[in-house]
């Protein structure tokens, strides 16, 4: 009964539209669903959408790959070595809780405005979920399988590639999906706060030029982008990485 899920949102939109028509909204902060839809169409047709989406998506994906990839690599090393994991416990505990937006001034000084600053902050933010969840996933790999790999005489590289990663894959994907959500949040936040590009910046421009319809339309597109990012990762997990990835996380 999939269609049932759509009843409530549809009803709310209809009510909002009815309210706007009946009472007539002339507001600097609200727009009727119809106006929002028209603004969304304009953004789609005049190319603004693609330009701003490309900027945000590019930064989010680059940051996700850099930070998430580094987090994953560290997670494997720390997950396989209890002594290294103990050694790095406190540094991690100290750096991890720093809100990623708080390091914006530092990266702004280093990189100035533009992609590099935004990507660096996103990478910082994506590093942690992959490190923490990845480490737990690797440490949770069935010890028997690691013994099997030792007895068979697999080297370190083969052990990671053939045993550890496949065994931890469902949870590694979970970590990547969380990190993807974080990447988008941080990208838009950085754009709203400082960086003059992407969807966050356009959102702020619409707001400051008193265009609530465009503002809500961009918000809609940000939501759509986040949803499709997650859907793409889910698709990759279930279709592109084989049996190991498709198993439920354990």
């Amino acid at each position: 009964m999939k269609w049932k899920g759509i009843i409530v949102p549809l009803a709310l939109v209809v009510i909002a539209q009815a309210g706007a028509v009946i009472y007539g909204i002339h507001s600097d902060s609200l727009a009727s669903p119809w106006q929002i839809l028209r603004a969304a169409l304009t953004l789609l047709t005049d190319g603004t959408l693609w330009a701003m989406m490309r900027q945000t998506l590019l930064a989010a994906l680059a940051g996700l790959l850099l930070g998430g990839g580094a987090g994953l690599a560290c997670a494997i090393v720390l997950g396989l070595s209890p002594s290294l994991s103990r050694l790095f416990r406190y540094p991690i505990e100290v750096f991890r809780p720093i809100p990623s937006i708080a390091i914006l001034p530092i990266f702004l000084m280093i990189y100035g405005f533009g992609y590099r600053m935004e990507i660096a902050i996103i990478a910082f933010a994506c590093f942690w979920p992959n490190l923490i969840i990845g480490q737990a996933a690797v440490a949770g790999v069935e010890p028997r399988l690691l013994e099997v790999s030792r007895v068979l005489g697999l080297g370190f590289g083969a052990r990671v590639a053939k045993i550890v990663i496949p065994a931890a894959l469902p949870r590694l994907f979970l970590a990547f999906r969380l990190a993807a959500a974080v990447a988008l949040i941080v990208a838009v936040t950085v754009e709203i706060a400082m960086n003059p590009q992407g969807m966050g910046y356009e959102l702020m421009s619409a707001q400051s030029s008193l265009r609530p319809d465009a503002m809500f339309a961009i918000l809609l597109y940000i939501g759509l982008l986040g949803w499709s990012l997650n859907a793409m990762l889910l698709f990759a997990q279930h279709r592109l990485f084989g049996v190991a990835a498709a198993a439920p996380p354990t």
Binding site: E142, R144, L145, E147, V148, S149, R150, V151, L152, G153, L154, A158, K162, I163, P166, A167, L169, G242, V243, A244, A247
Partner: protein, 271 residues
């Protein structure tokens, strides 16, 4: 298959020249977590010998096996394999775990699981498929090559693990209560298969079990351990003809005599 046929009635007749020991425990002691697990363990295993180890739980059966496998190191004394101290796992020592479901890679098919051992040995890719088929045929799983472990029964999964170990061309097969979780019928079938495979491959087998009859049925010798701390209590020579047979061997007066003395012995330990 260049092994002498195993129809010898008395495998170790006293006047025969004793073959050189393949594995030797020399005053081996081990502590884990402050507890003494093994103390002063001494024994030898000859090539192609089938040794079973019995004893109450906590007597260090599995620990002995893990020492040979190179997964553990002795605190005192030495474990030697082919005259050299064991410091890490060797390619020609294979280990079969009791919990087959945990020891198999659930994301690989039966063929893929066997292939893992070949990949570890750097068998050329072109040769692998042929070897995999050969090994799966050996354990009767040829038709199940494309199934995943979860699609196989317990007995078949254990067979698959055995096939993976045979891929290593082992000179030593270590088996840690391999049939403990299987039903009686499957267990008997697999006992005979292991005997057949060990004979054909000329491998020395170190077989841990808590089933005394299984130990007598399979072994050339049965080592009985005593707990707290684990040490060798007694070694029983099994002078039963080979090939063994589930019915006649188990009815043999010598089998019954051994069974009696092992049972008495274990009762004595436990009280």
């Amino acid at each position: 298959m260049n092994r002498k046929p195993l129809t010898i009635v008395e495998p170790f007749s006293p006047d025969a020249v004793p073959p050189e020991a393949l594995i030797r425990f020399d005053q081996v002691s081990l502590r884990l977590g402050g507890r003494v697990i093994l103390e002063g363990v001494d024994f030898e295993m000859r090539p192609a010998e089938f040794v079973c180890v019995v004893g109450p739980s906590g007597c260090g059966k599995t620990t002995l096996l893990r020492l040979i496998a190179g997964l553990l190191r002795a605190d005192a004394g030495t474990v030697t394999y082919r005259g050299k101290p064991v410091t890490e796992p060797a390619r020609d020592i294979a280990l079969i775990f009791q919990d087959y479901s945990k020891a198999l890679l659930p994301w690989r098919t039966a063929a893929g699981n066997v292939s893992l051992a070949l990949e570890a040995m750097r068998t050329p890719k072109a040769e692998r498929a042929r070897r995999v088929t050969e090994l799966l045929t050996k354990v009767g799983l040829a038709q199940h090559a494309d199934k995943y472990p979860t699609q196989l029964s317990g007995g078949m999964q254990q067979r698959l693990q055995i096939a993976r170990c045979l891929a290593q061309n082992p000179a030593v097969l270590l088996m840690d209560e391999p049939f403990g979780a299987l039903d009686a019928m499957t267990r008997q079938t697999l006992q005979d298969e292991v005997l057949r495979l060990a004979e054909a491959g000329g491998a020395c087998v170190f077989f841990v079990t808590h089933d005394l009859e299984e130990a007598i049925y399979l072994g050339d010798r049965v080592i009985a351990l005593r707990p707290n701390p684990g040490r060798v209590a007694q070694i029983f020579d099994v002078r039963l003809p080979r090939p063994r047979n589930q019915l006649t061997t188990r009815e043999d007066p010598e089998f019954l005599r051994l069974r009696r003395s092992l049972f008495d012995f274990v009762q004595e330990i436990e009280h």
